[in-house]
Amino acid sequence: MPFITVRFSSFRNLEDGEIDVAGKRVFLVGENGQGKTNFLEALYYLSYGSSFRGAVDTEVARRGTGYFALEATSRMEGSDEDLPPEKVIVSWKERTKTIRRGEKPLRDRKELIGINPTIIFCHEDFSFAVGEPERRRFFFDQTAGLVSSLYIDLLREYKRILKQRNAALKEGQVSVLEFLDEQLVSRGKDLMEERARIQADFEERIAVLYEEVSLLGREIRLRYRPSWPNDAGRNELVDYLARRRSEELALGTSLSGPHRDRWLFFSEGEEFTATASTGQHRLLTLVLRIAQAEYYSAQTGRKPVLLFDDVLLELDPGKRRRFLSALPDAAQAFFTFLPGEPWEDYRSEGTIVYRVEHGRLAD
């Protein structure tokens, strides 16, 4: 659902005020450190209630103010212009974050995610290719959560059980462990099933997209390696946990389960991460985000809003062209550019261009 306007108040270095973004493509052109990424971060906040840069609320509030507020209006594509737009407000004051849809406060951040999800392509994504396994779990959990709030609930429940179980292991509360095992296995198996479903969908998608953009003739395969034996039933898994009890008690933590699942990329029989170049890693992360956007559209029948933070900069002209043509149909797309980049070439009818300088946006 395309954004129509965005209003900032005390957010990072962005000047307070309302910005019109009612265009299919919005370009933000400016030198580094002027506020382009902050703008995308604001949009991300308005769709997820948090930052994609791992920043906490205190950091995004303009220094010394102790608060920030963001407001966006958006409208379903093709819907009547005289229909009142959807309004989302995210504000933070006195260390409390409030998210509202129109006048109605949302009780849970997950209610926000379904309204207007954005897909961000940013530098931090690089860790999906080369970072810790936790980063890839984050990516695929986010993907699943985008299309199913049930998955978010499931993951939260699993994490809560895991926390209780780890506390019981640490404190040596053996008498309750078998009951926590049962619950861990129950939610864990559900998570594994969901993840396997995503793997089946993404495997082909990623292979095709990677080749389409890179033209390297190198096939990429996504593998999902659960920490628990894949074909084990619930009872077998409960037994499996019981057998490792003494080891886990000694270490005071849960050594297996979906929190230790791995997502791996293979190419020609070898682990991709070990053999690929920086450029290939970068390309893989872009492909992952395209696949995420495609998956979202395929599952929900809705088009996402895409946010590109300096990504074209790192691609050679050929890849840039192919990357842009591989992009899924989006409700709207925001791009950041340095002034020296050939952004004029990507401009099409209805593109809105803003020059960003010292947090100020000008036509």
Binding site: D153, I161, R165, A167, S175, V176, F179, Q183
Partner: protein
């Protein structure tokens, strides 16, 4: 104003009351007539001595055993296990259940350092020893801690021969499917019953 500050300090220790609410209450008390403030103070002072634990079920009451445990009209073959004394009041309000109660005084939560030993579990087992109890209804909340406690009790009580049941979870009565959250809906599907 030391007296006011001290009162506010004490009030903020109450559940659900922050500094702002505490200030509002304190100023309200200043404004209100003396008789009301004294009646309130008197009730607070008398509360602990007037109300005690029922030595059978662990609920609060003015007498020991409590009226429910003492009543000959209650069904002695059923015990409903709840987390806290307030839950007894809630269930009694529905006028549906005619059996006895047992208050655990918490839920198993290793994160908070609460294990079965901290709960009134032994007392429950002792109550089942007579063989009179045929069903134990576990009425803990459908949370991770409530589930763990229910699973623990089920295993513990099975050898006594009593049937162990748990309250159903699902769509609220008079509720709308459209407004049910998805987790509730998913659980309702799993717990569907034959018509």
């Amino acid at each position: 104003m030391k007296a006011l500050e001290e009162l506010v300090g004490l009030l903020t220790r109450l559940p659900g009351i922050g500094r702002k609410s505490a200030l509002r209450v304190a100023y309200h008390l200043l404004k209100t007539d003396q008789a009301y403030a004294e009646a309130l103070a008197e009730r607070i002072r008398g509360l602990k001595s007037a109300i005690r634990f029922c030595s059978v079920c662990g609920s609060y009451a003015e007498s020991d055993p409590c009226p429910v445990c003492a009543s000959p009209a209650r069904d002695r073959s059923t015990i409903c296990v709840v987390e806290q004394p307030q839950d007894v009041v809630t269930i009694e309000g529905a006028h549906e259940y005619r059996g006895l109660y047992h208050v655990l005084g918490g839920l198993i939560s290793p994160l908070d350092g609460v294990g079965p030993e901290q709960l009134r579990v032994d007392a429950l087992v002792a109550r089942l020893r007579g063989g009179e109890v045929r069903e134990v209804v576990i009425a803990t909340n459908p949370t991770v801690e409530g589930d763990t406690t229910a699973l623990y009790l089920k295993r513990l009580l099975e050898p006594t021969g009593a049937q162990v049941t748990r309250l159903a979870t699902g769509i609220p009565v008079g509720g709308d499917l459209e407004y049910a959250d998805r987790l509730t809906l998913a659980r309702s599907f799993r717990g569907r019953v034959r018509l």
